[in-house]
């Protein structure tokens, strides 16, 4: 395999797109935003293709996609993500996307509220406060392994609650 210069062919790239799109959709929860993210990601992959090691394109594209998404989140954070209804945007399209967001955030708050107390604590420390596992373990006076297993359980419980809530939510489709 040629390791000095890697070029990505269109067919290789196209083969990755369905999985990449699904990944982007899960991150953004919205068709338009997912399509934009995939687009940004593909552009970046093509621009940076000299950095590709030629090993596993799918893995690399997914890494790039994650990074592009993180950058977008950071950018949005600087601009301020509207979680509040007060500054509702103009167009119909963005209103519905916006309301979807609002409903989703409400779901997150509700489902989080139903978690056992210990799950809430470990998620707050790691996911919200951004502590390293080592730090969280120190504060909780528990081994790191315990933090890892508590976190893994807490996240899957939250995911299950959210999934249930999402499937229930689709039945009450409100068109605006």
């Amino acid at each position: 395999m040629n390791t000095t210069e890697q070029t990505i062919t269109t067919s290789e790239l196209n083969a990755c797109l369905p999985a990449l799109y699904r990944f982007a959709y899960t991150l953004t929860r919205n068709d338009d935003r997912a399509a934009d993210l995939v687009q940004d990601c593909v552009e970046r992959c093509l621009r940076k293709q000299h950095l590709f090691d030629g090993q596993n394109l799918r893995s690399w594209m997914f890494t790039v996609c994650r990074r592009v998404f993180l950058n977008q989140i950071r950018r949005d954070k600087v601009r301020g993500i509207p979680v509040d209804m007060d500054d509702a945007p103009q167009s119909k399209l963005s209103i519905s996307a916006f309301q979807e967001d609002k409903m989703h955030y409400q779901d997150v708050v509700e489902c989080f509220g139903r978690l056992p107390h210990n799950d809430k604590v470990v998620l707050s420390l790691v996911a919200i406060e951004g502590l390293k596992y080592e730090e969280a373990a120190e504060l909780l006076e528990a081994p790191v392994g315990t933090v890892r297993s508590r976190l893994s359980r807490a996240r899957s419980r939250l995911r299950e609650l959210l999934e249930t809530s999402e499937t229930e939510g689709t039945s009450m489709a409100s068109s605006v």
Binding site: A19, R22, F23, T26, L27, R29, N56, R58, S59, W60, M61, F62, T63, R66, I73, I81, V83, H104, Y105, V108, V109, F112, G113, H117, K120, V121, L123, S124, L125, V126, A127, I128, E129, K132, Y133, E135, E138, L139, L140, R148, S149, L151, S152, R155, S156, L158, R159, L162
Partner: protein, 86 residues
């Protein structure tokens, strides 16, 4: 160690999402996820959940019992990364 086989566990995926992994281990988890649709989708959801939880932090901390405990735990931290004064 070129052909080292990595056994990727559920906990590795979480560690990856939380930025706890580096080097070879991180690459191994990325490869693992890239090849598997369901774990990849789950990882994306967990990653998303991290952002969502941060976005609704204020709402979550309305739970006074939780807020008190988090404050108590954070107060035990050694004073190295206290928020910068305004």
């Amino acid at each position: 160690m070129a052909n080292k086989v990595h056994l990727i566990t559920e906990q590795d995926v979480h560690a990856y999402i939380d930025g706890e992994l580096s080097g070879e281990r991180r690459i191994a988890v990325e490869r693992f996820l890239a090849e598997r649709d369901l774990p990849l989708e789950r990882a994306a959801r967990y990653l998303r959940n991290n952002f969502d939880l941060r976005a609704v932090k204020d709402e979550i901390y309305k739970d006074e019992e939780l807020k008190a405990e988090i404050d108590r735990l954070l107060a035990k931290r050694r004073p190295k990364s206290i928020a910068a004064p305004a």
